[in-house]
Symmetry: C2
Amino acid sequence: MTTTTYTVRGMTCGHCVSSIKEEVSEVTGVSGVEVELATGRMTVTARDRLDDGAVKAAVEAAGYEVVAPS
Amino acid sequence: MTTTTYTVRGMTCGHCVSSIKEEVSEVTGVSGVEVELATGRMTVTARDRLDDGAVKAAVEAAGYEVVAPS
């Protein structure tokens, strides 16, 4: 089990949070996604190793940007 | 055919626009809904008379507020 924290830029409302959760949840191995709108903080839990590039791609597919793994 | 314009408060992104369009489209008689995020301007086209209260209720159901018919 691994937990990785990212900072996401561009979210403005709860709908944005839902879109990101939906996309990132579909990344292979991901077992949980928490997103905090106010800070942009996203915490991703994975069963094994997490593919960082796939997480960033999922966030971008939702229309947002990962500023930095933090 | 009638066209009524409203001002909606509280939208922050394209998802908000979609939510409102979806709810207002379901109001009886409505044939078209245009929403402009930047200004909050919503234009509703109806086949006959438009039930103003139903439009406001639909916007509220989506989680937003009609400031004024404008």
